[in-house]
C-alpha cells in the first residue's frame, strides 16, 4: 500500500516554500502582475529554481538534478497552488523535464532545466489528456513548419519540445519560432500560440513515449496543485466567515453555510489522499495509471467547487477584481481541463479497471 503521509523532510520543504511565497508572492502582487507585459514572476522562479534547487527535484543527481521524487515535487506544487504562483514550475520542472527523462539523447538540456538556468515547455496543448491524440508540426527538408496552440508558459520558455510528423520530439530554441500570447482564462498560467516557419530543431528521441510520460506525470501531480487551490479556498472562506458579521452574528454560525464548508472540508480531505496516492505511485512506479486517473477524476470538481464556494460565500467582495478569490477560481477551472478533464480520466479508468462502456 502506498505511503499517503508526509515525511518530516517533506513538511520541512513545505515550510520553506511557504515562507518564500509568503514573502514574495502575495495576492496583491500577483493581481498587479497578471495584466502587465510580464505576467510570469521570473524573480520568484529564480529563488525557487536557483536558490532552493527545486527545478531539479525529478532529475537524478548524476544528471544534474536533486535526485528527489514526485512526492517532494507534489508538496512544492501544493504550495504553489495555494499561492497561485505565476511560475513555470509544473510546465518546466515537471512536464518538460519528464519528457526529457524519457528521451535517450537529452544532452545538456536536462541539466540546464534542472538547474533552472533555462525554462522548457512541452509544445503540446495544455488540455491534452495523457493518452489523447496531440498535434504535430511538419518536418520538411530538415526544418519544422506549423502552428501549435494552447502551449502553457511558452512565453517564458527558452526552449520548446516540439513533436513532429516524423514521430520525433525536437528541441527548438524559443528564438527560432514566433510565440504569441493567447488571452487566457487563467492569467497566472498563460497560454501561447507557436508558429514554426522553417525552424531548426535537434531530435531528442521518439515523441510518443516522451509525451505520454510527461502528460501522465503532469496529470498526477496537478492533483497536488488542485489540492493547494482547494485548501486555500476553504481556509480563506472559513476565516472570512468567522470574521464577517450580519444579522448581529458571525455568518459562519449559520448552519446553511457551515454545512457547505464542512462538505468542502470532507472533499479536500479526500483529495489529499488521492493526490498523495498519485504522487506516491509515480514515485514507486506501482499502479501508476489507475492512481493518476483516480486522482484526476476526483480532483477537478473538488477544486472548482471549493473555489466557487469561496466566491459565493465571500459575497460581493468575492466578485471584485481586487480580492484574490478569482485567481483561484480561474486556476481551478483551467486545471479542470489541463492534462485531460475528469471525464476523460474516467473514460481511461473504464479501460484500466474493466468497467467498459455499453
Amino acid at each position: 500500500m502506498s505511503d499517503l503521509l508526509y515525511s518530516e523532510e517533506e513538511e520541512a520543504l513545505r515550510a520553506a516554500v511557504r515562507d518564500l511565497l509568503t514573502d514574495h508572492c502575495d495576492a496583491a502582487g500577483v493581481i498587479a502582475r497578471i495584466e502587465s507585459d510580464a505576467p510570469h514572476d521570473l524573480s520568484l522562479w529564480k529563488s525557487l529554481a536557483d536558490g532552493m534547487g527545486l527545478a531539479g527535484l525529478l532529475v537524478p543527481e548524476d544528471r544534474g538534478g536533486q535526485g528527489a521524487t514526485h512526492r517532494e515535487t507534489a508538496v512544492v506544487l501544493e504550495e504553489l497552488g495555494r499561492a497561485v504562483a505565476p511560475v513555470p514550475y509544473l510546465t518546466s520542472a515537471v512536464v518538460a523535464t519528464e519528457a526529457l527523462l524519457a528521451c535517450p539523447e537529452p544532452g545538456g538540456l536536462l541539466a540546464s532545466l534542472a538547474s533552472g538556468r533555462r525554462i522548457g515547455a512541452l509544445a503540446v496543448g495544455l488540455h491534452t489528456a495523457p493518452r489523447a491524440a496531440f498535434a504535430t508540426v511538419r518536418l520538411e527538408g530538415g526544418a519544422l513548419h506549423g502552428e501549435l496552440t494552447g502551449i502553457a508558459d511558452a512565453a517564458v520558455a527558452d526552449v520548446l519540445l516540439v513533436p513532429a510528423d516524423d514521430g520525433g520530439l525536437y528541441a527548438v530554441e524559443a528564438g527560432a519560432v514566433t510565440v504569441t500570447p493567447q488571452t487566457s482564462l487563467d492569467l497566472t498560467r498563460p497560454l501561447a500560440r507557436i508558429v514554426l516557419d522553417g525552424a531548426r530543431g535537434r531530435r531528442l528521441g521518439d515523441a510518443e513515449p516522451a509525451v505520454r510520460r510527461a502528460l501522465r506525470a503532469g496529470a498526477g501531480l496537478l492533483a497536488s496543485e488542485q489540492l493547494g487551490v482547494a485548501e486555500w479556498s476553504l481556509t480563506e472562506t472559513v476565516r472570512h466567515l468567522k470574521d464577517r458579521k450580519q444579522f448581529n452574528r458571525p455568518v459562519g454560525g449559520f448552519q446553511a453555510l457551515k454545512h457547505r464548508l464542512a462538505q468542502s472540508w470532507l472533499e479536500t480531505v479526500n483529495l489529499r489522499a488521492a493526490a498523495r496516492n498519485a504522487a506516491d505511485a509515480l514515485t514507486t512506479g506501482e499502479d501508476v495509471d489507475v492512481a493518476v486517473a483516480v486522482a484526476q477524476s476526483y480532483a477537478a470538481p473538488v477544486a472548482v467547487r471549493a473555489a466557487e464556494e469561496a466566491l459565493q460565500l465571500h459575497g460581493g467582495i468575492g466578485m471584485t477584481w481586487e480580492h484574490p478569490v478569482h485567481l483561484h477560481l480561474k486556476r481551478a477551472k483551467a486545471d479542470s481541463i489541463a492534462y485531460g478533464t475528469a471525464g476523460a480520466h474516467r473514460e481511461e479508468l473504464a479501460e484500466l479497471v474493466d468497467l467498459r462502456a455499453p
Binding site: 500500500m1 454560525g253 464548508l261 464542512a262
Partner: protein, 393 residues
C-alpha cells in the same frame, strides 16, 4: 514490554501452552484474556499489557496463523467498541474486573440504551428517569434503536437523575441488567422487513448504585467516550479496492453487459472513483494513527461512507432493471448482524438509508465538523441554561 518481537514471542508461548486444536473455544478465549493478549493496549490484569494499540496486529497475525478461534467481534461490536472503552475510562476497579472479561470473550453481549423517541439528535434531552432509593436507582422510561437488546446480558444506559438542572448536567450513566424483570424488549421492524433493532421499555428497573459509571450528574461527559468510539467503529473498516458496496455493482457490470446503458456507465465510474478515494482516505487515516499523528479526518469518514453507500446501492437497484423491481425477502426476522453482502441489491438500498441516521445523523455530523474541525461558531442556543423540566417537548 512494548516491542513487537517480545509480543510475538509471548503469543507463541501462549499458543504452545494452549494449542487451539486441543482447547475448547471459551477456555481458549478466557486464557487469552488472562494472558493479556485480548487487547494489548488495555492494562495488565484487564486483558492487556499496556502496550501500544498498534501492536495488536502482531498478536492477531500470530493467532490467525495458528488457526486460533476469535471472539466473533462483529457479534459483540457494541460491547467491544463502546461499552469497553467507557468502562475502562470511567469504571471502578470492581466494575472493570467484573465486566471486561466476559464482555471480551463474548460470554456476555452488551447493548446500548441511549436514544429515545423524544431524544434522537438532541440526545441530551432524554427523559428516562432514574430515581435514587437507598442503595439503588429505579429507572422508568423508553429507549429505541437498540440493536442486540434481545441478545444482551448488559446495557449501557443514560438516564435523567436531576430534572431541575440544564439538560446536559442532570444525566447519569449506568450499567443496566437486561434480565431485570422491569426490562421489556420488543422488536422494531424496519423498512427492510427485518427487525435488527428493538424498542426497550423500562418499568421500575432496579440498578444497584455499584453499577453507576462515573459520578451522578456526569453521565453526559461519560457518554461522549461511548459516542466518539461508536463513530470510529462505524467509519473505520479497512477495505481492499472494490471492497465496499461498489464491489457487487462492478461485478454485475462486468458479468452482464446486457444491463449496461450510457447513463449508468457515467454514474458508475463517478461512484467507483469516489469509493476508491474514500478507501484511500480511510487508509491515510489509519497510517496517521499508526504513526501516532491522529488527525481530524476521522470525523468525516462516516459521513462519506453513508452517502456513498446510499448512492451506490441506489444505482445497483437501477442497474438490475426488471430484477430491481423484485425484493429477496420481506420476512420479519431478528438478525444478529447487519449483512450487506448476503442479501440482494434492494436490501442494500433500503438498509443503507439508515447509514446517515444511526450513530449521529449526517446533519449533526456536519455541524460537528464545522464547529470542532473548522472552528466555526455554534448556532445560538435557547436550551443551554434552562432546567430540563422547563424545556419544550
Amino acid at each position: 514490554m512494548t516491542d513487537a518481537a517480545e509480543l510475538r514471542r509471548r503469543t507463541q508461548e501462549f499458543l504452545a501452552a494452549h494449542p487451539p486444536a486441543g482447547t475448547a473455544r471459551q477456555d481458549f478465549l478466557r486464557a487469552r484474556f488472562d494472558a493479556g493478549l485480548a487487547w494489548v493496549h488495555f492494562p495488565e490484569g484487564l486483558g492487556g499489557l499496556g502496550a501500544p494499540r498498534t501492536l495488536q496486529a502482531v498478536v492477531d497475525a500470530e493467532l490467525e496463523a495458528a488457526g486460533a478461534p476469535d471472539n466473533d467481534p462483529r457479534r459483540i461490536g457494541i460491547g467491544l467498541g463502546m461499552a469497553a472503552p467507557t468502562i475502562l475510562q470511567y469504571g471502578t476497579q470492581e466494575q472493570k474486573e467484573r465486566f471486561l472479561r466476559p464482555l471480551w470473550t463474548g460470554e456476555e453481549v452488551w447493548c446500548q440504551l441511549f436514544s429515545e423517541p423524544g431524544a434522537g439528535s438532541d440526545l441530551a434531552a432524554l427523559g428516562t428517569r432514574a430515581v435514587r432509593e437507598g442503595g439503588h436507582w429505579v429507572v422508568d422510561g423508553q429507549k429505541v434503536w437498540t440493536s442486540s437488546a434481545h441478545l444482551a446480558r448488559w446495557a449501557i444506559l443514560i438516564a435523567r437523575t436531576d430534572p431541575d438542572v440544564p439538560k446536559h448536567r442532570g444525566i447519569t450513566y449506568f450499567v443496566c441488567d437486561m434480565t431485570d424483570p422491569g426490562v421489556e424488549v420488543r422488536p422494531l421492524r424496519q423498512i427492510t422487513g427485518e427487525a435488527e433493532f428493538n424498542e426497550v421499555f423500562l418499568t421500575g428497573v432496579r440498578i444497584p448504585d455499584a453499577h453507576r459509571l462515573g459520578e451522578a450528574g456526569d453521565g453526559w461527559r461519560v457518554a461522549q467516550t461511548t459516542l466518539n468510539n461508536e463513530r470510529v467503529a462505524i467509519g473505520g473498516m479497512r477495505l481492499p479496492r472494490e471492497g465496499g458496496m461498489i464491489g457487487p455493482v462492478a461485478k454485475t457490470w462486468r458479468e452482464r453487459p446486457g444491463l449496461r446503458t450510457h447513463d449508468l456507465h457515467q454514474r458508475l465510474l463517478k461512484l467507483w472513483v469516489e469509493a476508491e478515494v474514500a478507501r484511500l482516505t480511510g487508509e491515510r487515516l489509519r497510517q496517521q494513527l499508526v504513526a501516532g499523528q491522529p488527525g481530524p479526518e476521522g470525523a468525516g469518514m462516516k459521513l462519506g461512507f453513508a452517502r456513498l453507500n446510499q448512492e451506490i446501492s441506489g444505482l445497483e437497484v437501477e442497474l438490475r432493471g426488471e430484477e430491481g423491481l423484485l425484493y429477496d425477502d420481506w420476512t420479519m426476522r431478528r438478525p444478529e448482524l447487519v449483512d450487506f453482502t448476503g442479501r440482494d441489491a434492494g436490501y442494500r438500498y433500503l438498509r443503507a438509508k439508515g447509514n446517515s441516521i444511526e450513530g449521529g445523523t449526517s446533519e449533526v455530523l456536519l455541524n460537528i465538523v464545522a464547529e470542532r474541525v473548522l472552528g466555526l461558531p455554534a448556532e445560538p442556543r435557547t436550551d443551554k441554561d434552562v432546567p430540563w423540566k422547563d424545556l419544550a417537548r
